[in-house]
């Protein structure tokens, strides 16, 4: 009996631990816009264009993207967005009269390979500018190296606050990003709920173990209460739950106007479906974790989420970008690819960096840094200026889920 007891307990622990090891589908770094279909990498542009340098010489820009590893679709989108921007600049004659040469490295969304890639491009290829990484956990170690070696790093999509701010609370001089950070989305969500949805009461559902979800939920609650809303309930769950009936019974009893659920699409699918079946009519509101082709549109219909970019945006920059992107990159079936938020942000990040180099008038890290700090840039994902911590101040896009597709709803300025 004792062996049996001991074994049972050990086994249970082992199983639970092993189950804990791989939770969410897209351990999404920033914008978990994981597109489902295994994207075939379109024949990449010649990454190292030898010779044929125009009169002014070359300006090398490294692109660190997770082309393999857990989130390869993020990497492909990011690389394609950045390459498109560089190609457009080269067509216009490059920057400072120099041809821009992209150097693409696979950084795998993992600290070690990202650090190796960063060392390689800085020491061997002598680049002064890095676009990347996508994932915060890879961007942070890269930022330490880049900052120490006076290389400008511009992350398109890493949303963790410590990418640009060191442990001592000081802003890292040479590190920038093109996306808003997590807490900002919560603030925007609260503003949207109060002003656009006219929701007076909210119920918050969150996964306590997920920093992304927690960050959004905490900021939402703060901003919502400060704005005069009332939080009528707050419930936590875990990433592996499938049965939400107990939580939803409480939501039904509390009768909120809006339910804030800033999690990834897999949880959103489950919760919204079960909520509809319980007869819960409150609208659901979430963050960029909803942005996926696997989102169950029928279940989530009537919900809203905050995102970096709307695929059906009608702004002239966005339309031109979509056209160019679709013309250059094709999907598996040969159809023009629709750019996702990652591609849009990589495109913006690259354009912003090159504009800053142009404004600075010299290939010099300190001058470019100063130019970036004072930049005012109109990108695909909105108008961008940078704050003291090198985080963009820009408006967020609200998308509405309908039964057939996700459509642009409105833009909310901070």
């Amino acid at each position: 009996m004792r062996t049996f007891k001991l074994l049972s307990v050990i086994l249970i622990v082992a199983f639970v631990l092993s189950a804990c090891a791989q939770p969410t589908p897209a351990p999404a770094p920033a914008a978990p816009a994981a597109k489902a279909e295994p994207t075939k990498a379109p024949a990449a542009e010649p990454t190292k264009a030898p010779a044929a340098a125009p009169a002014g010489g070359e300006l090398k820009v490294a692109i660190l993207a997770p082309l393999s590893g857990p989130v390869p679709t993020f990497g492909v989108s990011t690389r394609d967005g950045a390459l498109l921007a560089i190609e457009e600049w080269n067509a216009k004659g490059g920057v400072l009269g120099k041809k821009i040469v992209p150097i693409v490295e696979d950084s795998q969304c993992t600290p070690d390979p990202a650090v190796n890639a960063a060392n390689k491009v800085i020491d061997q290829d002598k680049v002064h500018y890095i676009i990347g990484e996508v994932c915060s956990k890879a961007s942070i170690p890269v930022s330490e190296i880049a900052n120490a070696k006076k290389v400008i790093q511009m992350s398109p999509t890493s949303t963790n606050a410590s990418v640009t701010v060191g442990a001592d609370g000081k802003t890292k001089d040479y590190i920038f990003r093109a996306c808003f950070i997590d807490p900002f989305q919560g603030k925007v969500g609260a503003k949207f709920a109060l002003e656009n949805m006219k929701a007076k009461t909210a119920f918050i559902l969150l996964d306590q173990a997920n920093d992304y979800v927690k960050g959004l939920a905490e900021e939402f609650e703060k901003a919502y209460v400060a704005g005069g809303g009332k939080v009528v309930g707050k419930e936590t769950y875990t990433a592996k739950d499938t049965d939400f009936s107990a939580i939803l019974a409480k939501v039904a009893a509390a009768k909120p106007d809006v339910v804030y659920l800033p999690d990834y699409y897999n949880i959103v699918n489950l919760v919204t479906k079960q909520a509809k079946e319980k007869g819960i009519t409150a609208a659901f509101l979430g963050g960029d974790g909803w942005d996926s082709s696997d989102l169950d549109l029928k279940a989530a219909a009537g919900g809203y989420f905050t995102n970096h970019y709307a695929p059906d945006s009608t702004a002239p920059e966005a339309v031109a970008f979509q056209k160019a992107y679709g013309a250059k990159f094709k999907d598996d079936k040969g159809q023009p690819k629709v750019p996702d938020a990652l591609a849009a942000l990589a495109y913006d990040a690259t354009n912003m960096l090159l504009t800053a180099i142009k404004n600075a008038g010299a290939d010099d890290a300190d001058k470019v840094k100063a130019a970036l700090e004072s930049i005012s840039f109109q990108g695909v994902s909105g108008k961008i200026t940078l704050d003291k911590q090198h985080n963009p101040i820009k408006s967020a896009t609200i998308l509405k889920v309908t039964e057939s597709k996700v459509v642009f709803d409105s833009v909310v300025a901070p």
Binding site: M1, I12, Q208, Y237, D243, A252, N266, L270, K278, G279
Partner: protein
């Protein structure tokens, strides 16, 4: 219930010493009242919380109990397989939860890829739509059960049978290996993929609420306050689970193969001498358990409508706890244990917090093993099926 390896290795003398020591009382018996007192206090606190909340808001309490029943009946379907296999070969088949997962995936592909749930409409266009749904869904369920059965028998032949005479720990570790194999093989892109997949149901889930009679919940309409809601999938799960329990009792108690199962469980070598095809009986046991797990997988996927390859881990483990709680090897025990587990989970997530419910589930396992290792219905030794 004593692991086979222990009595085999301990000499008669040692056993006598152990018995004498037991008679004198285990060391530390004087302090045992602390543990017992603690458990009693815990039980009192749980009762207090439940009763105050029942008085405060009875409809909410009923909602939790109903969701607990739904979970409990699903666990019962899985727990039966654990307990039957343990009763026959003394093996905790940890791959059982993953058979459950495969059941869910088979039904998913049958519905989305092959539209199997509407085949009667294609073959007999005149059939009323209600009948089409019933026959189509039954076909899907049946297919899942058959695939799970075939898989479990294969697993038994390939992984467990060669180890039948090996120490039990070897078979146990093999079972864990098979479990991981199914999970991570399933996670490959050309098998099931590691994604969370929205499950397309073979039939729509309809919800009713009880308040002055039973009414249908219309789309986009909230049921009135103070009402209790339940769905058709809840009724199906309850009915299926009870039906399975009855069928199994009949199978074990009244049929020839049931008699063979009981004989095999009681004494394998003697059963073989009596002309019972022991290997066949063992395969049959695995097959029956897997069929019910497959049924459970389909119903679980329909109820919670999202599937991925590690779907089976937690329900499998909780069903295992349920089987231990009820007394592993006992069929009614597994059933009752599963219902208790369902309630424990639902009420924990209702009145404490959702992340606590797994902790509570496994705390129950530890308490059972400490206080009554044979479980509620467990017999000390002997006849099991």
């Amino acid at each position: 219930m004593e692991p086979a390896s222990v009595p085999l290795q301990s000499a008669p003398g040692e056993r006598a010493i152990a018995a004498r020591r037991r008679a004198r009382g285990r060391p530390g018996a004087k302090l045992a009242w602390i543990g017992q007192g603690f458990l009693l206090l815990l039980a009192a606190a749980v009762l207090y919380i439940l009763i105050t909340n029942l008085i405060k808001d009875p409809p909410l309490f009923a909602a939790f109990v109903l969701s607990g029943l739904q979970l409990g009946f699903v666990y019962a379907l899985i727990a039966l397989g654990y307990t039957m296999v343990y009763g026959i070969v003394r093996l905790i088949n940890f791959a059982h939860g993953d058979v459950f997962m495969v059941g869910a995936f088979v039904s998913f592909y049958a519905v989305t890829r092959f539209q199997l749930h509407i085949w009667p409409a294609a073959v007999f266009p005149d059939l009323p739509s209600g009948l089409v749904v019933v026959i189509g869904s039954l076909t899907v369920v049946l297919l899942s059960m058959i695939v799970c059965t075939a898989m479990a028998v294969t697993i038994e032949r390939v992984a467990y049978k060669p180890l039948r005479d090996a120490p039990r720990i070897a078979a146990l570790i093999t079972a864990i290996g098979v479990s991981f194999f199914l999970e991570f093989f399933g996670a490959l892109y050309f098998v099931f993929s590691p994604r969370f997949i929205p499950y397309q149901r073979p039939f729509e889930v309809v919800t009713w609420y009880i308040k002055d009679g039973i009414h249908l919940v219309q789309a986009g309409q909230a049921p009135p306050p103070g009402s209790i809601t339940f769905s058709n999938i809840f009724l199906i799960i309850v009915a299926a689970s009870i039906l399975v329990q009855v069928v199994l009792q009949f199978l074990v108690r009244r049929t020839k193969i049931g008699k063979a199962m009981r004989a095999t469980s009681f004494d394998k070598p003697t059963a073989r001498l009596m002309g019972i095809d022991v290997d066949g009986v063992i395969s049959f046991t695995f097959a029956v358990g897997a069929a019910f797990a497959g049924l459970g997988g389909v119903l679980y996927a329909i109820a919670y409508s999202s599937i991925w390859t590690q779907l089976g881990i937690l329900p499998g483990l909780k069903a295992f706890v349920a089987a231990v709680l009820g007394g592993i090897g006992s069929l009614p025990g597994a059933f009752v244990g599963a219902l208790i587990m369902g309630q424990a989970e639902a009420l924990t997530s209702g009145y404490i917090s959702t992340p606590m419910r797994d902790a509570v589930a496994f705390t129950i396992l530890i308490i059972v093993l400490l206080v009554k290792p044979t479980g509620l219905f467990g017999e000390a030794a002997g006849e099991k099926a």
